[in-house]
Subunit: 568 residues, 2 copies
């Protein structure tokens, strides 16, 4: 037949309501979440926490057999060690890349011809099945990323699942814009000219998703599901220290695909040891047409230049200078508490965590009186100190440092400050984890620098170190904010002001910089958090990321339309 | 204000119906045309033909003062010579590029903040004003491209205008998906968390449109209007031999923009002499963030690699191997007539003109009996000969050859055939133009080659030379069709068969190749013509072009969304 579509697949009916609700939510961009963020047994079932833990422990120190049916070299790889201490000991089958690419390509026609509605429904089934294993996933994310447990559950589980569903419906909406078939009738002398035109959506080719260590699922799901929903087979190259969450994801996806009548080769995992070159090798494979990447700017830049120059679609999320402009506030306590949380959460190891806080030398007007720049910095330091004072509670916010690079910065803050020409306002405090004594946990540090010392604060300082940058006044703060983000990138920005003119100017500066702006956050919403279906993650408008989760630009080029037309 | 939008612009009301109708047409993809394709005085006004001609003649041999208000170096450029003979003698002010880039950037904020609805309405006004000057434009297109008059009118006028309107509404639809502002309300213990979120659409930056010689307006308008409608200022770099149509377009656009309260610098023309480097210089300008290009594969490839590697959005339309697979027909006469027209129209100088005709050695079953491959080739040659036999009528189809490259191929077809290892089935006949004796006009030539002589027919042979490629059977024809287009690209493809299985296989081959397919065209629709709002021009799925006029992928990345959010 001309335009093969499947209209009777059982998953279509099973997930119609979910897709309708999510599509509606996308159009409205107001609050929507499909997957409950509470790990409570009341939500996920009485035995869910224990079952999840048991499932996690069962895969440790063993071969990951759930992916044994992938094409493999026969070797196994795996060197994950929990940031909380223990080695995971999971050995994954090494992918036979040429065989895997061939299998992926062979899987295309049936998946392509199933059409966007069936693909979306199958994707939803995958996400639902992932959701049911959120507790197990939380342990996997915690012991690869170093996130605290509840955050691992939320960000690695339901929040990532919501972003996955978002990508599916953004892709579905774009594909729905193209009718399967139309009759075209052009008026003419005598009889009109009539043609039937069939529109067939075709994928670009094999899609590569390169995962990161800190958010193995959250940052990988948008690319995985955007590519899959538009008909492209996906090869997932996880970070060598963040394999397990994506191995679980891959295994679930393959099972669902097979049960739904499709080829397991539509999702494959390509794990490797630390120091491997698989990401680059796969990126250069001519069959790979789409690349989604989260990670450091070095390799990201290589992809944006070398891979893009080879005609591949490249979606990146790298790093940037997340900025807070402090002008004035009518809720000093709320502001300090909010910022203390944002700095502390996962020890600043979020791509969205604030780094540079601009404070005017003229001081900050507050509901508790006028504060000099120095007084404000001290107040902020005090808020962080208080927020992280109890070790047992602090570790549930701070998590563990993910790698030696972060640890090196947080270990000798006075030396770092001296090297950068700044002054320590608050040192990072070592925290002993009550359960995991080997975890390296540090509270956030603050370093004060002058605004003209741009070298100090215009590179990303990933982890629990932030800068209080003293500017002449808020006008300079906004100018430097726009300039530094336009040049170096930024994932998030925040402003605190009671002055509508300043807020307006901040919005203009954010538009110039190309970064989303949070204004006067003093409650339970934090600058480093975005909500699927409402907030975009990234903008694609500054060097931190060339993509946004999930706008039309993130999906529209992942498929193409092939028309066939004939007279009728 | 947070999200500046203009809701009271007078052009909004003036063009609401047009935008509504065009948007609806886009969703339906059935027949729609806003701009009448007939140059008849009954449609465009009794004096339109004479007025258009007079207006055209008035700009010849003089300075093009309508662009005198652009930033200029003070020098003038211009070396256009009509393919019909006469030098145009138009001198254009040379653009002061640094000043023009600065002016374009300065024009962004007001245009950005006007919002998508106002931008779309202003774009429609520009297109309407261009439409009113379609006769003048027809002369400009004819005497730069060498197209015959009626084609110049249609393709250079209303058809280009329809494609422009299409780009505007594709862009508008994508922008409309983002609400200006929403209230987000997340359930929480006690009071829900409420935020207002404003979404501001921002452009990428300066957009460069690089025009071609053969379709100066038709191929430039989609990029110009897609960028303009999404908020980007546009610098148009016309082909040195195709300046006038885009100079007229630029002048009209600038007048409309100024009248609508916006900066003329939103559209600027950068003309240059033949052999200049302006396209490359502009492409490398850091301010240029979007590039639309139509032209040869050499520079197109450079843009796809070097410019893309610099983070610029690059949309190309280059060249390819347009293929006809002949299997069988129940309307031999209709088929031959249709193909003769397609080969003859504008002497094969369309990027969509067929080049390679695969005919099986087993012959072609027809309603006039079975034909051997050789008999079929002779019949096709005869149809072309008859169709172009009357010089005065032929020139109104053939037009004039556009450049020496085309002329060189059409001048000594036997030598070309010998060089390629083929045989001349039909030589190109020199035709004397009754009005323009200096025009070089040639009828289409046919060269027969064997399918394994791939070198002969796997490069684009732009102009009035096509190949009859003898394959073993239709299975080989379809295989070679898919392979050659996947590797070398193709803008169009056609198949003739009475066998549904062959048609199905052809559709699959077209999907594999990534090219649109026309089936059994025997009447007044031709493989080289696409209809705006229904047919895509190009697919972006093969090397001939990385873009399609006009799908979501053509517009979605031209703007970005900047969110600002705050508690309410």
């Amino acid at each position: 037949m001309a335009v093969p579509t499947t209209t009777t697949h059982p998953l279509l009916e099973a997930h119609r309501e979910t897709l309708d609700a999510a599509t509606q939510a996308l159009r409205e961009r107001s609050y929507y979440s499909r997957y409950p963020e509470s790990p409570s047994p009341r939500v996920y079932g009485e035995t869910a926490p224990q079952d999840g833990q048991a499932a996690h422990e069962a895969v440790l120190n063993s071969d990951f057999t759930a992916l044994a049916d992938q094409p493999t070299t026969g070797r196994t790889v795996g060197s994950e060690r929990s940031p909380y201490g223990p080695a995971l000991g999971v050995r994954y089958p090494e992918l036979d890349v040429p065989a895997a690419i061939a299998a992926a390509q062979a899987a295309i026609p049936a998946w392509r011809d199933a059409g966007p509605e069936v693909r979306a429904a199958v994707c939803v089934e995958i996400i639902e099945r992932i959701n049911k294993r959120s507790h197990e996933m939380a342990h996997a994310v915690m012991h690869t990323s170093g996130q605290p447990f509840v955050m691992s559950f939320q960000a690695g589980g339901p929040h990532a699942q919501d972003r996955a569903l978002e990508a599916v419906v953004v892709a579905l909406e774009e594909q729905r814009r193209i009718p399967a078939s139309v009759t075209w009738e052009k008026p003419a002398k005598g009889e009109p000219i009539r043609m039937q035109k069939d529109y067939r959506l075709v994928p670009r080719g094999v899609a590569l998703v390169i995962g990161c260590n800190t958010f193995p699922t959250w940052n990988a799901y948008p690319g995985i599901f955007a590519s899959l929903a538009t008909g492209n087979p996906v090869v997932i190259k996880p970070h060598p220290r963040g394999v397990l969450p994506l191995a679980l994801t891959t295994a679930i996806a393959r099972d669902v695909l097979a049960e739904a009548g499709f080829d397991r080769a539509l999702v494959q995992l390509a794990p490797e040891e630390d120091g491997g070159t698989l990401a680059k090798d796969l990126a250069l494979d001519p069959a790979v047409r789409i690349i989604d990447y989260t990670g450091g700017p070095g390799f990201g830049h290589w992809l944006e230049t070398e891979a893009a120059a080879r005609g591949k679609l490249v979606y990146t999320e790298k790093a940037g200078l997340n900025t807070v402009v402090v002008d004035s506030t009518d809720d000093l306590k709320g502001m300090l508490g909010n910022l203390a949380f944002s700095f502390s959460l996962y020890s600043g190891q979020m791509c969205t965590a604030p780094q540079n806080v601009y404070v005017p030398a003229t001081g900050v007007q507050t509901d508790e009186g006028h504060l000099s720049a120095e007084e404000f910095a001290e107040k902020l330091a005090g808020a962080i100190t208080r927020f992280t004072s109890d070790d047992a509670r602090a570790v549930e916010i701070l998590g563990a440092t993910v790698n030696d690079d972060v640890r090196s910065r947080a270990t000798d803050v006075p030396a770092l400050a001296a090297r950068l020409g700044g002054e320590v306002v608050l040192d990072a405090r070592p925290v002993t984890h009550p359960t995991y004594p080997d975890a390296v946990v540090r509270t956030p540090a603050l370093i004060a620098v002058e605004a003209d010392n741009t070298e100090a604060y215009t590179q990303e300082c990933f982890g629990p170190v932030a800068f209080v940058v003293r500017t002449q006044d808020t006008t300079e703060s906004l100018r430097r904010f726009a300039e530094t983000v336009r040049e170096h990138g930024g994932m998030t920005a925040a402003v605190y002001s009671t002055d509508e003119q300043v807020l307006d100017a901040a919005r203009d500066a954010a538009a110039e910089a190309g970064v989303a702006l949070s204004e006067n956050l003093t409650g339970q919403v934090f600058v480093n958090q975005t909500a699927a279906f409402s907030d975009f993650h990234g903008t694609g408008a500054n060097p931190a990321a060339n993509s946004a989760y999930a706008d039309a630009a993130f999906v529209a080029a992942r498929f193409r339309v092939i028309t066939s037309r004939r007279h009728v």
